[in-house]
């Protein structure tokens, strides 16, 4: 677990203060460009990498001051490895593990207020210093009856600041993702509702217990035990999990067998949730998993769970069915249901987007159509990134002001995106169980 380098003194809560931070970043990022071009005048070899690194540092600095939902947005952005340059990725990955701590009196106050007891009364030992930070809270270590426990504590007032935060983050995110502002609304609503859910620890505890129970049969996965009697609206108590973060796991030179085992466990975990439960742990960033040497994976943090509506599910996975492409009217119907094309689109627009979607879908769903797939295959990912880049640079796409894709696709896509990225980093060879085994 990483420790914080700088201690943060205050957490900006008011909107103006937060906005101030963003303005400061904007100015700094602007400054970095000036610096970049100035250096370029003197030294032609100055790399763009360096510029991006500077920008990432400043943006990260800002986001780390905002904690809460802004950090969460950083996490979402950091999922998009294909879209973000490497410098941004590394910094944002960091944001997934560490954010500055809160005062010890506040921690004690949260216990007294929501559980009516001090940590000293609840546990045999309690480490008042946070062992690491979650995006909307922090994690403490405790012991009880010889058992190591992890206690997740939420910052006060997080839910209140989410809406105002998102309004500030919106123009930033819109620029990075390249969406028309007014069309971004439906996505932001979706994100906002998910973020607000994440602040509801009572809901998270219930979901964590339900989903870990339902997924307990999947091989090579472990889930912590949760303790509802020591949890509240602001506190979740669970078993302390041992294991390495993904980066450390990969750096420890695990065998290919272990890598496959870890990847397979994760694949099966998501497969089962999406197709059987229709409810999915929609936060597959590496910070939510811990790996053991033999490739077993521990899963915690069910803060972000997406319930997939039946209607959306049916249409979404019809895309992987080659049969539908034989019937033009059927394809249009499915695209329409998924809001990828709109009734207001002209024939010309439809004819332009249809083949782009088809190619993209074919590439992305390829692992589903074969019985096993090597996610370590970088050429596959490179091809995807290049195609995404090609598409996003098309004049028609850049100038299209319509959002394409239903709001539900946001978290489902993100889940697969995150899963693919993790499997790629793990270089796992996965048994995907063959074409459309779930139908």
């Amino acid at each position: 677990m990483s420790n914080d380098s700088k201690e943060q003194v205050t957490i900006p809560v008011s909107k103006i203060e937060r906005a101030g931070h963003f303005v400061a970043t904007g100015v700094k990022v602007g400054g970095n460009y000036v610096k970049h071009y100035a250096q370029k005048l003197i030294n032609k070899d100055t790399s763009r990498e360096e510029l991006l690194q500077d920008n990432a540092d400043d943006i990260y600095e800002t986001l780390s001051h905002l904690k809460g939902s802004a950090l969460k947005v950083a996490q979402m952005l950091s999922m998009d490895r294909g879209i973000m340059p490497k410098a941004y990725q590394d910094k944002f990955q960091l944001s997934q593990y560490s954010a500055p701590p809160l005062s010890s009196p506040l921690v004690l106050n949260t216990f007294m207020k929501t559980l009516g007891k001090t940590p000293g009364e609840l546990f045999d030992t309690f480490d008042i210093k946070a062992s690491n930070a979650a995006s909307i809270g922090q994690v403490h270590q405790a012991t009880k009856n010889g058992k190591k426990l992890a206690i997740k504590i939420q910052y006060p007032g997080v839910a209140n600041s989410i809406s105002s935060d998102l309004k500030i983050v919106k123009p930033f995110a819109v620029r990075i993702v390249g969406l028309a502002a007014r069309d971004a609304d439906k996505y932001f609503e979706e994100v906002e509702s998910k973020l607000l859910e994440e602040t509801d620890y009572t809901l998270e505890l219930r979901r964590s217990m339900e989903l870990s129970e339902l997924c307990a049969h999947i091989p090579n996965l472990t889930f912590p035990k949760y303790y509802p009697e020591m949890s509240s609206a602001k506190i979740i108590t669970m078993d302390w999990l041992e294991g390495m973060h993904m980066k450390d796991f990969i750096a420890s030179n695990p065998t290919q067998e272990a890598l496959n085992r870890a990847g397979q466990a994760l694949w099966d975990f998501y497969d089962f949730q999406v197709h059987k439960l229709k409810t999915v742990h929609a936060d597959p960033h590496p910070g939510n998993f811990l790996f053991k040497e033999d490739g077993t994976v521990s899963i915690f943090d069910f803060g972000c769970v997406k319930e997939i509506p039946k209607d959306f599910y049916d249409n979404y996975f019809l895309l992987t069915n080659q049969e539908i492409y034989k019937d033009e009217a059927r394809v249009r119907e499915v695209y329409n249901n998924l809001e990828m094309i709109h009734p207001t689109d002209t024939e010309q627009e439809i004819n332009f987007f249809k083949p782009l979607f088809k190619k993209m879908i074919d590439m992305l769903t390829y692992p589903f159509t074969v019985s096993s797939f090597d996610f370590g295959d970088d050429t596959y990912f490179k091809e995807i990134y290049e195609y995404i880049e090609y598409v996003s640079n098309l004049k028609e796409v850049r100038e299209s002001i319509k959002a394409r894709g239903s709001r539900h696709s946001l978290y489902v896509n993100r889940t697969y995106y995150g899963l693919y990225n993790i499997l790629n980093s793990l270089k796992s060879n996965i048994k995907t169980h063959g074409p459309l085994h779930f139908n």
């Binding site: 003194v9 205050t10 957490i11 809560v13 809160l102 005062s103 010890s104 009196p105 506040l106 004690l108 106050n109 949260t110 007294m112 207020k113 929501t114 000293g120 008042i128 910052y155 006060p156 007032g157 209140n160 609206a233 602001k234």
Partner: protein
């Protein structure tokens, strides 16, 4: 009949009737006691109110005195703990506290006379914290100004009180955030050079004016 019972009866009266008793005579009568006996405990209703505020402070300090963690804290964390504990005590009497709100400013006025005993006690407590803080270098010692720090902390206490008085969030969690922020900021101001810059600038403006 003892002091605390009379105080509680008085609070009950105010909460249920929505106003103070018309006279000590009528209040004493409702308690079944002689007016003159009332004065052996309190000289006026204001004295009861004043003691109410002071008692919230005393209760908080009493709790803190028993707390082992508290003793190990630096000044900043001590003050944070004080606020959290004090607000928790006020919470038990929130309705009564709200009766002190000044309708015009929608807050409890800094000048509210019933706060005076509490203020005196808090200032003493705060100057003790400041003394500890300057000894451990948690706070910066400044000539002429350090002796005034505790007045600043009093203003901060009133800020916390009024934030809570007007807090509509569930479980008053925004007050928790406000306390954390306010104390962090004030200790930062008192600790590093920011305040010096402010003073320097103030002096400069003053010189120019003269």
């Amino acid at each position: 009949m003892d002091k605390v019972t009379i105080r509680n009866k008085y609070i009950e009266y105010v909460l249920e009737q929505g106003h103070k008793p018309n006279s000590v005579f009528s209040f004493a009568k409702s308690l079944g006691m002689e007016e003159t006996d009332f004065y052996t405990f309190y000289s006026s209703f204001e004295a009861i109110e004043s003691e109410f505020w002071k008692s919230t402070f005393d209760e908080a300090l009493e709790k803190l005195a028993k707390d082992k963690t508290y003793k190990g804290y630096g000044s900043k964390d001590k003050l944070l703990t004080f606020y959290f504990v004090w607000i928790a005590i006020l919470r038990n009497n929130r309705s009564y506290v709200l009766s002190f709100k000044d309708a015009k400013i929608k807050s409890i006025a800094l000048t509210n006379a019933s706060l005076s005993a509490f203020k005196t006690a808090f200032l003493e407590y705060a100057s003790q914290l400041v003394k500890e803080g300057t000894e451990t270098k948690e706070l910066k010692e400044r000539k002429f100004i350090s002796d005034k720090y505790h007045y600043g902390l009093w203003i901060q206490t009133m800020f916390v009180l009024n934030y809570w008085v007007n807090d509509n969030s569930a479980n008053f969690e925004m007050t928790d955030a406000a306390i954390e922020k306010a104390v962090n900021l004030s200790f930062k101001l008192l600790a590093d050079n920011t305040l010096d810059n402010v003073i320097d600038f103030g002096k400069f403006l003053f010189q120019k004016a003269v």
